[in-house]
């Protein structure tokens, strides 16, 4: 086996040194009734050639671009990843390093994550961002737990227009606690109904997603107003941070915590993971934050350097009293996001956001002109909902055969939204792709 460097002579010499007669003998101290009797039932080892063939067959069965046109976002977006980003991200020194617990040997990772934290705060308009969480869903769950720690209340309110999977993960995290989740319905324009907030007692946090799952930009400032005299923290969640290249970011709208999914920022979709949980807040709450933080300091010679810091919040120091149990995070994904944000720059980020918006508006207008209904009037970014006529399911299936995925059917997530589809357009779709889609759904 090419990863196992020991020759038979090495094994013999090492066994002799430890005074044991065989490899099996190394396990003689394990009680007999604890030792496995049968061999593992795992297939015979594959050569690299066989493995390549096997994987190519599996991967070849998947529907991906350019063969397929997938007009689907819903928390996982197709954006072009610059070659320089993929190349840099494959550097072994980043990929095969551990968590930077020994800063003298990890200044590369540490500076890169410090830069990620900085770019994340600039993108989200927040004062401090952590080194990453797992994904948008776990970020939201951790944000709500953090808001509860800060506010010392027992109830959180979450918009029904927050990503349905994120809400389900939140429910899972809350199940063994004595905390309550109240759901805020959405209005006919596609934004969240905030009318019940005033009457909610015991409220520790309110979470909106913007753009929300229906693609609509929420009125976060209105919520900020409503929370002025309340203990509740304002949590703004997101699944498409590119939108903040065009629209106001969570900080500008008054968010106390901003959390969500950063997959859009240079990370391949990979069937949903690994992605990037982004997490940011106001500085005054930093000691209640989950996850790792990189800080700037100096070395013995007074030179600038970076270290993991405020570790007394974390499980390896505080154990059961930690702000979270998170240890391994998504560092390499955060690095990808930093590289991506740096590759675009402020100017490129804004241009790309605008292009996503304009393309999405192009398709939206074309579908409306073709006679399809736009159920929610609120402004959107690169996703929107269309109500197709009853029986569209058949058309959808027909289009799959033509290698077009005409959005995400919403009925599975919102039973009241029968025949409603969530469509997404990014910079990867051409005008021709969109014209073809309009033609096909109309015929």
């Amino acid at each position: 086996m090419r990863y196992l460097p020991h020759t038979p002579e090495d094994v013999a010499a090492m066994l002799k040194a430890v005074e044991i007669d065989s490899l099996e003998g190394l396990f003689a101290h394990i009680p007999k009734d604890c030792r496995r009797k049968d061999a593992l039932k795992i297939p015979q080892p594959l050569t690299e050639w066989e493995l390549n063939d096997h994987i190519d067959t599996l991967a070849g069965s998947m529907a991906v671009s350019p063969q397929y046109k997938v007009f689907m976002g819903a928390g996982s977006y197709e954006h072009y990843i610059p070659s320089a980003v993929s190349f840099l991200l494959s550097r072994s020194e980043f990929v095969t390093a551990y968590t930077p617990y020994q800063p003298e040997l990890s200044q590369g990772t540490l500076q890169a994550i410090y830069e990620y934290q900085t770019l994340a705060t600039r993108l989200l308009g927040m004062e401090v961002a952590n080194a990453s969480q797992y994904d948008g869903a776990s970020s939201l769950a951790e944000a709500m737990l953090m808001a509860i720690r800060v506010s010392r209340q027992k109830t959180v309110a979450v918009s029904r227009a927050v990503h349905p999977s994120y809400r389900r993960v939140l429910e899972t995290y809350f199940e063994p606690t004595d905390l309550n989740i109240r759901e805020l319905p959405y209005l006919s324009d596609g934004t969240t109904d905030l009318s019940s907030i005033e009457d909610m007692g015991d409220l520790g946090a309110v979470a909106l997603q913007s753009p929300n799952f229906l693609g609509c930009i929420e009125n976060i400032e209105a919520l900020k107003q409503k929370l002025q005299n309340k203990k509740a923290l304002l949590v703004v969640c997101f699944s498409e941070p590119l939108a903040y290249g065009l629209y106001k970011n969570p900080g500008q709208c008054g968010a106390d915590i901003a959390c969500g999914e950063g997959q859009s920022l240079g990370i391949p979709r990979s069937f949903g993971g690994p992605a990037l949980g982004m997490f940011a807040s106001k500085m005054k709450y930093v000691r209640n934050m989950p996850g790792r933080l990189v800080g700037q300091t100096t070395d013995l010679d007074g030179k600038r350097g970076h270290v993991l810091t405020l570790a007394t919040r974390e499980q390896h120091i505080r154990r059961e009293k930690a702000t979270s149990n998170i240890c391994t995070n998504h560092s390499l994904c955060a690095l990808a996001a930093a590289m991506y944000m740096a590759a675009l720059g402020g100017s490129g980020f804004k241009e790309l956001a605008r292009l996503n918006y304009d393309k999405s508006e192009y398709l939206k207008t074309a579908l409306v002109n073709a006679g399809f209904k736009l159920p929610f009037s609120r402004a959107t970014f690169n996703e929107f909902v269309i109500e197709f006529p009853a029986g569209f399911k058949k058309t959808y299936q027909r289009l799959l055969k033509k290698k077009i995925v005409a959005g995400l059917p919403l009925a599975g997530f919102y039973p009241e939204l029968k025949n409603h589809y969530l469509l997404c357009v990014t910079e990867t779709m051409t005008r021709e792709d969109m014209d073809t889609l309009v033609k096909e759904v109309s015929s």
Binding site: E104, R319, S331
Partner: protein
């Protein structure tokens, strides 16, 4: 001794991202605009982020220079105890980067994602076979996430039997994530002292286990590198009181094909694909923390689950007792592909051989260094061994000094000051992918450092000297946090 691998070379200074670049530069090629501009609601629009504008050359040099300030498995031995820093095979990177996987949307219709679903289904089977348990979920994104999932399984299972209970037993050698994960599920951790042999005694568990205790979280082999030899008796005691046994599988690399965790009475176990199954750590993730369970806990696993129906793989939500979802989609698929490739590359024999050689390497280091450094538990070890700085105390040299000096010799330090039961712990896990020559160099380096501790302790206190930065002021970093530029 041969020349140590550690040396100095030309490294580059590199400023922070926003200290370079110029407005108007770009490292990104925008696609040709083929649609008109559309009006934006001004009340909603913002200013966009204040990122520096860099050219592609600026970008590339920046990250290449940063990368050169890192130590990595691909550059040298990384013997971090309980972290299993084994070599990360390059074929795994090729496999997970296949466009069919990398570009796949997670909500594609199942008919268009059979390949990845088959891979996930088979990986679950392999992991249950390796652990000797009955079913698995791949959803948890990291080890601690797997622990949380495991504790949620404890909670719902015990609740279905009457009450979720309020306490959990956690040995004093446990990882910090164990009590933190349990506490998220409302369980109060009750510490269990390990005995003079460094393992759990059945008696200690018996004294603490009661009908308000959900069970025990064991790491086996434990963080002293010792096999929990009383595990069967411990499991029996816990089960007799209606509790469950959780195994933290962080150290599974010691026992693949050697121990069947199901036979030991383990009910729930998480694996770290980024440890045992060779996917890279990425400077702190992403990893993956699949959870394997016995038959009785299967109905509670997270949804959706990949099942096979009429020859097709589907994602089923039809498990009414499930704890729900723990990930927005299905977990870290990119990491699963690497682990799957690793398992298929090694096969049954290769996996067992990996564990055997991991243990051989650790035993060899232990025997070669036990005269040089204090070995608190002088017993047969598994895949890691734990020393302390006790012999160096007279020279006022600490574990920290020893391992910082090790950097100058070209090795990454072992895990230090953990497990907590050994003051000044130095926890060494070489893994199976280090050759005898490299391990001999490592042993020589530590012996040389022990000599230096006696003859020139200042050399250790001032270490490291050959790194990009010398020791960093962590106290100042925490006292006046500067967390962004």
């Amino acid at each position: 001794m041969k020349e140590p691998v550690g040396t100095t070379g030309l490294l580059f200074n590199e400023p922070l991202l926003w200290e370079k670049g110029k407005k108007g530069r770009s490292a990104f090629s925008l696609p040709r605009r083929d649609v008109e501009k559309h009006a934006v609601d001004e009340k909603l629009s913002g200013n966009g982020p204040d990122f520096p504008d860099l050219s592609e050359v600026d970008l590339v040099r920046h990250y290449i220079r940063l990368s050169q300030w890192n130590f990595s498995v691909d550059s040298g031995m990384y013997p971090l105890g309980s972290c299993t820093m084994k070599y990360n095979p390059k074929t795994n990177e090729r496999q997970s980067a296949q466009p069919g996987f990398a570009q796949a949307h997670p909500l594609l219709p199942e008919s268009l994602s059979q390949g990845v679903l088959k891979l996930m289904f088979e990986l679950e089977q392999y992991l249950t076979e390796i652990t000797g348990l009955d079913a698995a979920t791949l959803q948890p994104a990291a080890g601690a996430h797997g622990e949380l999932t495991g504790m949620l399984l404890f909670y719902v299972y015990l609740k279905s039997k009457g009450t979720p209970r309020s306490k959990i037993l956690v040995p004093d050698t446990a990882h910090g994530t164990n009590p933190a994960s349990a506490s998220l599920c409302g369980y109060r951790s009750i510490p269990v002292k390990s005995n003079v042999r460094g393992v759990l005694s059945a008696q200690a568990v018996k004294e603490l286990m009661d009908e308000d205790t959900a069970g025990i979280m064991v790491t086996n082999p434990n963080t002293l590198g010792l096999f929990e030899e009383n595990i069967k008796a411990v499991s029996d005691i816990v089960h007799a009181k209606g509790g469950l046994v959780y195994c933290d599988g962080a150290n599974m690399n010691a026992v693949m094909g050697i121990v069947n965790m199901g036979d030991l009475g383990v009910d729930v176990l998480h694996l770290n694909l980024h440890k045992t199954f060779s996917s890279p750590h990425g400077g702190g993730g992403p990893g993956a923390g699949p959870v394997c369970v016995g038959k009785h806990l299967e109905p509670f696993l997270p949804v959706p689950r990949v099942i096979k129906q009429k020859g097709k793989y589907i994602l089923s939500e039809d498990f009414p007792e499930s704890i729900g979802k723990v990930h927005a989609f299905y977990g870290n698929v990119g990491v699963m592909i690497r682990a799957y490739s690793y398992i298929l590359s090694l096969g049954a024999e290769g996996l067992k051989k990996a564990s055997q050689l991991a243990v051989l390497n650790a035993a060899y280091i232990k025997d070669n260094l036990k005269g040089t450094f204090h070995l608190p538990y002088n017993r047969p070890c598994m895949h890691e061994c734990v020393f302390s700085d006790k012999f160096q105390e007279p020279y006022k040299v600490t574990t920290l000094d020893i391992v910082k000096r090790l950097m100058d010799y070209g090795f990454h330090p072992p895990t230090i000051y953990f497990p907590l039961v050994v003051p000044g712990a130095i926890m060494i896990e070489p893994t199976e992918t280090e050759s005898k020559e490299d391990i001999d160099l490592f042993i020589d380096a530590l012996k040389a450092i022990a000599r230096e501790a006696r003859e020139n302790p200042e050399l250790l206190r001032a270490a490291p000297q050959k790194t990009k930065r010398r020791r960093l002021d962590e106290t100042a970093a925490a006292r006046k946090p500067c967390l962004r530029g």
